[in-house]
């Protein structure tokens, strides 16, 4: 596993980013967010992106997970140039290849834990029975089978985040994108979540890219890279 953020080091790259740039406009002012980012993420890697607020780490995560678009540069995931995909194809690609974990869990409050986890499977051709098997497996992986009929408001923050992780896992995605997954949790819950993510990476070989401010969380990753003012820093 490479110890640098530079491209070309690891074999079997899942994510390949070259010369990626992104800026936002506020009125007539152009604000650069990412400048000439070149990065490779190997299959099965657990990568932590760290950096101060406004450094562009969430924007980078959003772009490589197909939630946002770069202004310039090349980006391929699993050998597919996702910058060429239209909105509909990109949505279908996300549904199939990316699992998301957010800081604030972002579960649908009116659905139960089971239904929240089942949600991404609605977009697949699986039968109801097959969906049930997948959901049960995902909930058992995060240790929440007994809370399957609870709504998010009946769960603790840590439990909600575990449901969110089950939702991210349930389609067996190529990549898990986690944005500050422990940012809203107490120390114990944060530790449990990181343990779970580390286990998913180690035991199931899931590729995880995680944005975090928390050095303890970053320490569970196999590789940590830092961004500052839109540029990658050497680790």
């Amino acid at each position: 596993m490479s110890e640098t953020g530079q491209p070309g080091a690891p074999d079997h790259l899942l994510v390949e980013i070259t010369g990626l740039c992104k800026s936002y406009t506020r009125g007539e002012e152009v604000i650069p967010v990412l400048e000439d980012i070149t990065l490779g993420v190997a299959e099965g890697e657990f990568l932590a992106l760290m950096g101060p607020s406004g450094s562009g780490k969430t924007t980078l995560l959003n772009i490589l997970a197909g939630l946002d678009r770069a202004d310039r540069g090349a980006l391929s995931v699993g050998g597919l140039d996702i910058t060429e995909l239209g909105e509909v194809d990109l949505a279908a690609w996300r549904a199939r290849h990316v699992g998301f974990v957010f800081q604030f869990y972002n579960l649908i409050p009116v659905l139960t834990a089971y239904e929240n986890v089942e949600l991404p499977l609605i977009l697949t051709p699986l039968s109801r029975a097959e969906r049930r098997r997948h959901v049960d497996l995902a909930l058992s992986l995060v240790g929440l089978t007994h809370r399957r009929d609870h709504t998010p408001s009946q769960l603790s923050g840590g439990q909600q985040q575990r449901v969110a992780i089950a939702r991210a896992l349930v389609t067996d995605p190529t990549l898990i994108a986690a944005d500050e997954p422990t940012g809203d949790l107490d120390k114990v819950s944060a530790e449990e979540i990181m343990e779970l993510l580390a286990r998913l990476n180690a035991e199931f070989g899931k590729t995880i890219i995680m944005v975090t401010h928390d050095p303890r969380a970053a320490a569970r990753a196999r590789r940590v890279i830092h961004l500052d003012k839109g540029a990658l820093l050497a680790n």
Binding site: L67, D68, E87, A95, N106, I108, V110, E115, I122, L123
Partner: protein, 382 residues
């Protein structure tokens, strides 16, 4: 799952949803009642017989015709039945107790078979001058029976009048007016000869039956030609166009009622649109998350549209269900609207109005949610 999501979103704010459904129900109820009033107005026209002509004074309906015209009219080829009638007016106890009252000549029931009366009742009516015949609905409303006395205070024909119920007719069709009261013209005429001779021997209109309905225009011309340049020229027209003339008099009112019914729907449209805009704004996070998970804009649109449509249709269904008892209460309260019914076509129109409101109300929030980018949505979330 999609249905569950729409359904649960809908009942997330129970009070807000209940109030919106109630508002929608009241709007559709008002829409149906107002439209039904307008339809009732026109229904009398549509049920008019095509083999009857009405002869009236060419100046205005308020001017009468000499009874002697009957001798001429009955001689006109193609005429095979005739009668005459005058609007009696008057007040039964209080002006609020309005129902139509006509003094009619012999042959009225023969010419109007839609008023079904037994032979014995018909004979009793013709035999007794103070006799009157009332409609079934009128009898039920005031609890009148055969033999009861009905006092009427005259206004067009001043005096205290009293009539004895000798017959209660029923309508041959559901649309037949069962709220009329008819009395003998002879009784009125003989009284006028004594008290106001100048107004005696004059009728409001003649009703003639023709053998061939397609000869209506020709016979009308013949009748009017007979009385051209007379002291009271006539206008003869089919019963339908005669009744349309009445409707035309109230055209402005009918248009106003129709405009109000549409305005009511527009008002509820703004209320529902506001509710949907609030709901969509509150759920921005959820919609963004769904997009993140791979749900396309079309599916998100279905969620917003589905919720709005369900809300509108629930209100529409409740309003329609309430329209029947409310319509009965309305007819009882105002009286005189014997044709007031809420036909299936009007229910369809109400349902279409409700669905239209549901679709329109969802448009702006739907477009806003569909066009929101995930990245900006997530920034808002964080």
């Amino acid at each position: 799952m999609f249905w569950a999501l729409i359904h649960r979103h809908l009942w997330r704010h129970k009070l807000r949803t209940a109030l919106t459904v109630l508002g929608m129900a009241v709007a559709i109820l008002a829409f149906l009642l107002l439209q039904a009033v307008v339809e009732a107005w026109y229904r009398g026209v549509n049920s008019a017989a095509d083999n009857r002509l009405v002869v009236r004074n060419a100046v205005s309906l308020t001017f009468s015709l000499p009874l002697s015209y009957l001798q001429t009219i009955r001689q006109i080829p193609g005429v095979n039945g005739f009668t005459y009638m005058s609007w009696f007016g008057g007040i039964y106890i209080d002006e609020r107790n309005f129902f139509p009252r006509f003094a009619v000549g012999p042959g009225f029931f023969e010419l109007h078979p839609e008023f079904v009366l037994s032979e014995s009742e018909r004979l009793s009516f013709h035999r007794e001058k103070r006799a009157c015949v009332i409609g079934k609905r009128l009898a039920e409303k005031y609890g009148w029976r055969i033999g009861d006395q009905i006092p009427i205070k005259g206004n067009i024909f001043p005096g205290d009048w009293s009539f004895v119920v000798r017959g209660i007719y029923r309508g041959a069709k559901p649309s037949t007016d069962e709220s009329l009261m008819v009395m003998n013209f002879d009784y009125l005429n003989e009284s006028l000869k004594k008290t106001m001779p100048v107004r005696a021997d004059r009728v409001g209109s003649f009703v003639i039956r023709i053998a061939e309905p397609d000869q209506a225009a020709h016979i009308s011309r013949l009748v009017d030609r007979e009385f051209k340049n007379s002291q009271a020229e006539t206008i003869t027209e089919t019963e339908k166009s005669f009744q349309l003339g009445f409707v035309a008099m109230t055209k402005a009112l009918l248009v106003a009622i129709q405009v109000i019914s549409v305005v009511v729907v527009l008002v509820i449209l703004t209320v529902l649109a506001n509710t949907m805009a609030m709901s969509a704004r509150e759920r921005t996070t959820e919609y963004v998350v769904l997009k993140t998970l791979g749900f396309g804009s079309g599916r998100i649109a279905i969620l917003v549209m589905g919720e709005s449509l369900l809300l509108a249709l629930m209100g529409g269904a409740l309003g329609t269900a309430l329209a029947f008892p409310a319509g009965d209460a309305f007819v009882r309260a105002v009286g005189g609207l014997h044709d007031f019914i809420i036909p299936p076509a009007l229910i369809g129109l109400g349902a279409a109005a409700a669905a239209g409101v549901g679709v329109m109300a969802a448009l702006i929030p739907m477009i806003r949610v569909m066009s929101m980018s995930i990245a900006s949505g997530l920034r808002r979330v964080g």
